[in-house]
């Protein structure tokens, strides 16, 4: 799909911002001030950016343990994310959540939690509420290939199809659950999107590393959902570069076939988006300006975030009930 240059610049800028934030987290992680598990989105940025471009702040997006890109692609509060990773009061959960529990309702990011598959039915409940109340919003559920080993996901697809709910399921197929490859977990050659299609939802399949592909498929699916055509499911092939959880590379562990990581790095979503910009005639110095702006944004948010107060441990008992 051809994207107008202005939009493409936005998309590139978001992919770049997410990449640089994740790299910054990785750089700073050894300081041991972000004392929580982090699941970085490096290599998978284009998925969230291409989908979020078609959402508005009244839509509701639910996500999982690897949520930074999903959150940031909605222009959710950067400072609150960084503060949350540092366990500070100005974090988006006041330090109660850390990396795996993010929220920014003003931007439509309605919550991420780490039990695999658990937010899939919760997103569906948002869609159910929208339909019941005849509101025009949609729900988005980000899930991974591992979710297709969780029964709750099949249950959710069934109900979404049964009630023709306004929900988009975005499957990021990065082929790994922690260190375990897809073919060790699911029969080789079986397509996840075909499974989803068999459940009765409309299915699209594309390249998650190509922003134009993601953007186009999401545009098509979301337009159909908004037109009352029921649930859609997009499978997007992508690949996680760093270790499952943590700041480092882990290719030395040998669980990935030799050359696989390098091959996927050659298909970098950031580089791909940059190439599209250059092909569209955007000058390199223009791109550099965007990149510098992002770097400044990150530095400034980082400083502001770390100026936050440390939360009072006495407050740990608050908020159990409304």
């Amino acid at each position: 799909m051809t994207i107008v240059v202005e939009k493409l610049l936005d998309l590139y800028s978001q992919i770049h911002l997410i990449r640089r934030i994740e790299e910054k987290i990785a750089e700073e992680y050894h300081q041991q001030t972000m004392r929580c598990p982090v699941h970085l989105s490096i290599g998978q940025e284009a998925v969230a950016v291409g989908v979020s471009a078609h959402l508005n702040s009244n839509d509701r997006v639910y996500s999982n343990h690897r949520a930074h890109a999903h959150y940031l692609a909605l222009n959710a509060n950067l400072e609150s994310l960084i503060a949350e990773l540092h366990g500070l009061e100005n974090g988006c959960c006041g330090g109660r959540g850390g990396s795996m529990h993010l929220i920014d309702l003003e931007k439509g990011f309605a919550g991420s939690t780490p039990i695999v598959g658990a937010t899939v039915p919760i997103a569906m409940g948002a869609a159910f509420a929208f339909k019941q109340q005849k509101r025009s919003h949609i729900a988005v559920s980000y899930l991974g290939d591992g979710c297709f080993e969780e029964g709750v996901v099949y249950e959710s697809l069934n109900f979404a199809a049964l009630h023709r709910l306004p929900i988009l399921f975005v499957l990021e197929n990065n082929q790994y659950s922690v260190y375990t490859r897809l073919k060790q977990r699911q029969p080789e050659g079986r397509s996840i999107s075909k499974l989803a299609a068999a459940m009765g939802v409309s299915v699209l399949h594309g390249d998650g590393n190509c922003i134009d592909d993601v953007y186009g498929l999401a545009a098509q699916a979301i337009a159909q959902i908004r037109a009352g055509k029921g649930p859609y499911f997009i499978e997007l092939d992508t690949y996680r570069w760093p270790e499952h959880c943590g700041p480092s590379d882990d290719d030395h562990l040998g669980y990935r076939p030799q050359g696989e990581l390098a091959a996927w790095k050659a298909r970098c979503p950031l580089q791909y988006a940059k190439t599209l910009l250059v092909q569209a005639g955007v000058a390199l110095n223009h791109i550099q300006q965007l990149e510098q702006k992002n770097s400044k944004k990150i530095e400034s948010a980082w400083v502001k975030a770390l100026n936050g107060l440390t939360p009072n441990p006495k407050k740990a008992a608050e908020g159990v009930y409304v």
Binding site: R60, Y62, C93, R96, G97, H101, I103, L105, A110, G111, T113, I115, A118, T119, V120, P121, I122, A123, M124, G125, A126, A127, F128, A129, F130, Q132, Q133, A139, G151, V152, E155, S156, N158, F159, L162, G319, V320, Y321, V322
Partner: protein, 359 residues
Amino acid sequence: MSDIVIEQQTLNYIDAIREGISEAMQADETIFVIGEGVPDPKAIFGSTQGLRQQFGEHRVLDMPLSENAMTGMCIGASLNGLKPLLIHQRIDFSLLSADQLINQAAKWHYLFHQAVPLVVRMIIGKGWGQGPQHSQALWGLYAQVPGLKIFLPATANDAKQMMKAALNDPNPVLFIEHRWLHHTESLIEDNEATINELSKAMVLRQGDAATIVASSYMVHEALNAAQACAQFGMEIEVIDLRVGHEFDYATIAASVNKTKNLIVADLHPMHLSPGHAIISQLMQNGIQLQTPPRLVAQPNHPVPTSWYLAENSYQAAEAIAEAIAQSQNLTALQLKKILAALSQPPRTDVPNRSFCGPF
């Protein structure tokens, strides 16, 4: 409770629940009811009968056999403006909901400052061959989870008031019934009791010889034992806990300080029964008793199906009477007379003559 009584009528527990749901749904159009069999001809033992005609298909729904996803769906709906009432015909099925209830619903407000107004009805089974997977109490498991409220109505009146209060509460509430409560009747006091009022333990029968603390169906077994004792001049105080997510310590302590004897009656297996927590709290606070506290709980084995085999699997009024006899140093003959005075069902596996299964 408030002194203003608008109207008084006698209802059975099922009708009381249905009235509670219906009145709450009339007052709040965001409430919807969902569960396996909600609109079917049996209508969850009659408790959802007529609701679909009254409120329409979109507010009274059947559901696929997907307890896990349906619980998550209800959480998502509650986060986005609706108030779900989800129903499990046996509490045992709620274990398929447990991830959503324990990991998500109970934590959501704590993490995200977003309320999860959600009510889940769960029914504990007993007798008529309910067997290992249809007769567990299990509420103690959920009571271990901060963030969940556990309502344990033991009377029809509490069932109605607690249902209305639950559907008006911004927290996830597990509304736990017992199948053998469904036929019980009580006077209904429509006084719009608040959650705080309903969470206070209630002294259902006053006495000075011993205190029985019970909840849910065990309240009726305790009353049965207390009534038998009264025939022999012993007045036993019976306290209904009413909720499981907290204990109304003050009410229990005041009673025990008076009677100096404590019996706790519970539906869980003896090992780590919630009854231990009540006894422990009183002991840790230095309450002095005349005789050791006694816990009447269930055997530490699954309940078998055969009614011959299951004969001793449900500890009830007889066991409570025996505990009372120990606390009062009664003779074997005195105990025998009390046991003979107990109100007994026609068979051990049914609550009354009209109950003939199958579910």
